[in-house]
Symmetry: C2
């Protein structure tokens, strides 16, 4: 990787972290400067505005999500194992998810209010995950329509749990509720 690309990536990672932990509007350009440890001018050289950084961050999240889903596809042969793997990944991230909410959900909530462009970008991450979930349920033997319903339901509940757990700042609520989601995977078809 070229030096410029490396710098760009470090900026994206720093911004990604701050947008997640503080929110987009609360995060100032100077916060990113501090976090990444380079000069303000240098960052502006790579991204001409804060909105440009935001776009890059969301693109980065899209790519990262693709990677993870592909890895799961490669590592696990069975759809139910994959789905449980998805759910376990929520448990693994419970500390951050409880403290800051879902990275994609909270960003979408914040930006969706005012910014149509970024709402559509967030939309893409959501689609990736929904489609992947739907594909797994399809492999489990559900009909196309049922699989979509299951995927949407599982996803919706995951988002809701993140909101509630954050409000109550309670990892136990998070873990308990997420474990309930496992029933959605193991339930009998047409039940």
């Amino acid at each position: 990787m070229k030096q410029g690309e490396q710098t760009k990536l470090s900026i994206i990672k720093a911004a990604n972290k701050l947008f997640y932990q503080q929110g987009f509007h609360k995060t100032a350009f100077s916060d990113i400067v501090k976090e990444v440890g380079l000069s303000k001018g240098n960052i502006t050289y790579h991204f001409k505005s804060k909105d440009d950084i935001l776009t890059a961050v969301i693109e980065h999240r899209v790519e990262r999500t693709k990677q993870i889903l592909t890895t799961w596809d490669q590592d696990y042969a069975n759809a139910d194992t994959r789905l449980l793997c998805f759910i376990d990944s929520l448990i693994d991230g419970k500390s951050a998810l409880t403290r800051y909410g879902c990275p994609n959900g909270t960003l979408a909530s914040e930006l969706g209010k005012s910014n149509e462009l970024t709402r559509q970008l967030s939309h893409r991450v959501f689609d990736l995950i929904r489609q992947w979930l739907s594909t797994q349920f399809l492999a489990l033997g559900y009909s196309s329509e049922q699989a979509n319903d299951r995927a949407l339901d599982l996803f919706t509940r995951g988002q809701g749990i993140c909101v509630l757990a954050q409000v109550y700042n309670d990892e136990d609520i998070f873990e308990l509720q997420v474990n309930h989601l496992k029933a959605l995977v193991s339930e009998k078809i047409n039940s």
Copy 2:
């Protein structure tokens, strides 16, 4: 109501609307000034800072929520009717809920990241609703523990639906998913 109180209320209502539609950090003091139609100095006379306005807005939401729940308690005798009324109120508000998300959920998501005080204030609105839901399920014959579970589940799903519907900007997803929630009320006990 005294004149000062009236003015205070109009400021709170304007801020409430803007915090909902734009988010807290995106809403500038001057936005509130424009919305309420009074001078900047006058607003500062009633609330010395933006954070003060925020606190008042949340208090206002708490009181408003109490009012609504009390009204439902008075107007409907049966717990299942009350619960359906809650769900129908979501359908009624689907346009705004899809466009801007849940007022309490999105505010909590935004503020919970950084501000412990306001996270706890949001917490109060959530508790009111959760407790009320739990009370209704208790009246339906569920055990105390089951009633709490049902309430949390219903609430969690409602929040998740708001997030998804906002991301996709799709009122149909919203209405469809919310209608699914009615099953939680009419399901047989211990099912």
